[in-house]
């Protein structure tokens, strides 16, 4: 490689910018996809009870009334909540599963919790309940779900244990999960529920999806804005490096013209030079971003993009490439760069070759 310093610096900065932009794209897109996958099996409508606009446990008996609304296939009271562990400074998600719940006294824990507490199957693990008293459970299983994003900080337990742990009375639930077959009935059913129980808040799955999209979109947008500053700096840098042909380069072009190169030959050479630099940077940047996001769990972005919990899930996103996005990135970086290298070369290449003799 000629002009090692200049081309090396250019390649480095170029690769860095591609790496950052591609990482943000890969990451936010994979997260959105992950969320969509997770929500695929979520209930169509969730009914929460509110009191003065704040969340409140819902009476289990309301489920029977709601279940009679036309179009509702089933209603299931759900029990779930959060638990802050002041010793490990982490939040856990407690859930009573609909099926295959552990027997009383046993729990299933997410891999994040098992990792942090150094616990494995059949170990006894203790948590402080709502009254401050510790309760011990035997670990039945360590969850290794496909989406670690969701299962990392999860504790699955029996209804009996949950009520004992949280102090939630037997006639109340966290919320009600409804299954509805016809998507066109969602809005009508939600309306009927609020008429029936004005202090409830029905949440549609499509709304949750939209919120996820908005949150991840907003966050990745935030990152994009920050890094667009970096991209702008790169553009200025590239423009300066690529367009400002040095006296030596101008002389070279003059020599090549003098020894029989046409303007088009020089442009072709410069085009390939620019293409090699930008394609190399693009490919290396994309590969690094892929490794960063899908192999090493995005250590650079996790604090910004992965939520507020103290217990960051050590999850690996399912590799997913959107060729539309990659091509957009390509056309926004490689093409402009190649053009910026061609224009000044063209200006230098149209000079008379006899300048090298003067």
């Amino acid at each position: 490689m000629r002009r090692k310093g200049k081309n090396g610096a250019l390649l480095l900065v170029y690769t860095l910018v591609i790496f950052v932009l591609a990482s943000v794209l890969f990451f936010s897109h994979a997260l959105q996809r992950e969320a969509a996958l997770v929500l695929k099996d979520a209930p169509e409508i969730i009914v929460q009870r509110t009191q003065a606009g704040r969340y409140h446990p819902i009476p289990v008996a309301w489920g029977a009334q709601i279940g009679r609304i036309n179009g509702v296939i089933s209603v299931r009271p759900r029990l779930w909540g959060y638990q802050y562990d002041s010793v490990f400074l982490a939040n856990y998600t407690l859930t009573v599963p609909a099926e295959h719940a552990p027997p009383a006294g046993s729990i299933d824990v997410g891999s994040g919790i098992a990792r942090m507490r150094g616990a494995s199957v059949d170990d006894i693990i203790a948590f402080a309940g709502h009254d401050g008293l510790a309760r011990s459970y035997s670990i039945r299983d360590v969850l290794s779900g496909e989406s670690q994003l969701l299962t990392s900080d999860l504790i699955l337990l029996s209804e009996e244990d949950y009520r004992d742990f949280s102090g939630l009375p037997a006639d109340q639930a966290t919320d009600l999960a409804l299954r509805v077959r016809n998507p066109r009935e969602y809005a009508t059913i939600a309306e009927k529920i609020t008429k029936l129980y004005p202090d409830t808040r029905p949440i549609l799955r499509s709304e949750i999806l939209r919120t996820y999209d908005a949150v991840f979109g907003w966050r990745s947008g935030l990152l994009i804005v920050i890094f667009s500053a970096a991209a702008l700096a790169f553009v200025i840098f590239a423009w300066d490096k690529a367009t400002g042909l040095s006296a030596e380069e101008r002389k070279e072009i003059g020599i090549l013209k003098a020894v029989g190169w046409e303007t088009s030959d020089i442009l072709l050479m410069k085009f390939w030079e620019g293409t090699v630099v930008s394609l190399t940077a693009f490919l290396v940047g994309i590969i690094l971003a892929y490794a960063h996001v899908f192999w090493t769990s995005s250590p650079l972005f996790a604090p910004v993009l992965k939520g507020w919990s103290t217990l960051y899930p050590a999850f690996r996103l399912t590799p997913f490439l959107d060729f539309g996005q990659i091509s957009a990135l390509f056309f926004l970086t490689v093409v402009p760069y190649t053009v910026t290298t061609i224009v000044p070369s063209w200006r230098a290449a149209i000079i008379d070759p006899d300048t090298v003799m003067r």
Binding site: R2, R3, A258, G260, E262, D265, D352
Partner: protein, 228 residues
């Protein structure tokens, strides 16, 4: 025959810095001969070489190469004529830094589309001819003055030109290297190559190499004569 008919060359025309480098020059140069353009700096030698070598066009007048008028050719055709007919040796050799001697020699032939392996073999043979085979892969900035000069000549010869044009070729050479250059040119001349040199070095214009010396001053030819 290369003929110049009443050619003038004006730089920066219409500007305060307007400068007339050549003024009404007419000249006939015979093929297979060596012609030396002699004269002080600023006399117009280099400009005349550039015009005859199809590197630029005259402001007025016409140039003929073997009876073909080349002054009005479009750039593409002019480049083609330049590439196929002329080989240039520049005052400071003008080798391209950062690439090897071999790549420098091959450079003028890249646009011809010749097969790379054949071109490389020819360029190597050319370097061998000048005892530079072992320096083929050396970067040009590592070469000595004499080696750089020979690489420049090898480059000028890569497209088998009928005419070698050299501008002040001995200006940066010591006496020994200047004589070496004259020797190489003599060999080329013996093979029938036409040589046009611009020089104000007596080693060049007083050498046996020169068949004809054209004396220039202030952009005009003030004398031309065949040497005995």
């Amino acid at each position: 025959m290369i003929s110049a008919r009443d050619i003038s060359k004006v730089f920066n025309a219409g500007r305060p810095s307007e400068f007339t480098a050549l003024n009404g020059v007419s000249l006939d140069l015979r093929l297979h001969e060596t012609t030396v353009l002699k004269g002080p700096s600023g006399s117009g030698k280099t400009t005349l070489l550039a015009l005859m070598g199809c590197m630029s066009r005259p402001s007025t007048g016409r140039i003929f190469l073997k009876d073909r008028e080349i002054t009005s050719l479009p750039e593409r055709f002019l480049t083609e004529v330049r590439r196929s007919t002329f080989g240039f040796v520049f005052q400071q050799f003008n080798l391209i830094k950062g690439i090897s001697a071999l790549e420098n020699v091959m450079a003028p032939a890249y646009p011809t589309g010749e097969k790379f392996s054949l071109l490389r073999a020819r360029a190597l043979a050319s370097l061998e001819m000048f005892n530079l085979g072992k320096r083929a892969d050396a970067k040009v900035e590592w070469l000595s003055g004499g080696e750089a000069q020979r690489v420049a000549i090898a480059r000028a010869l890569i497209n088998n030109p009928a005419v070698i044009i050299a501008d002040e070729p001995t200006a940066h050479l010591d006496t020994r290297l200047a004589h070496e250059f004259i020797g190489i040119m003599a060999q080329l001349k013996a093979r029938g190559t036409t040589i046009i040199l611009a020089s104000h070095d007596p080693i060049v214009y007083d050498s046996d190499l020169a068949d004809r010396v054209v004396e220039m001053r202030d952009g005009q030819v003030i004398g031309a004569g065949n040497r005995a």
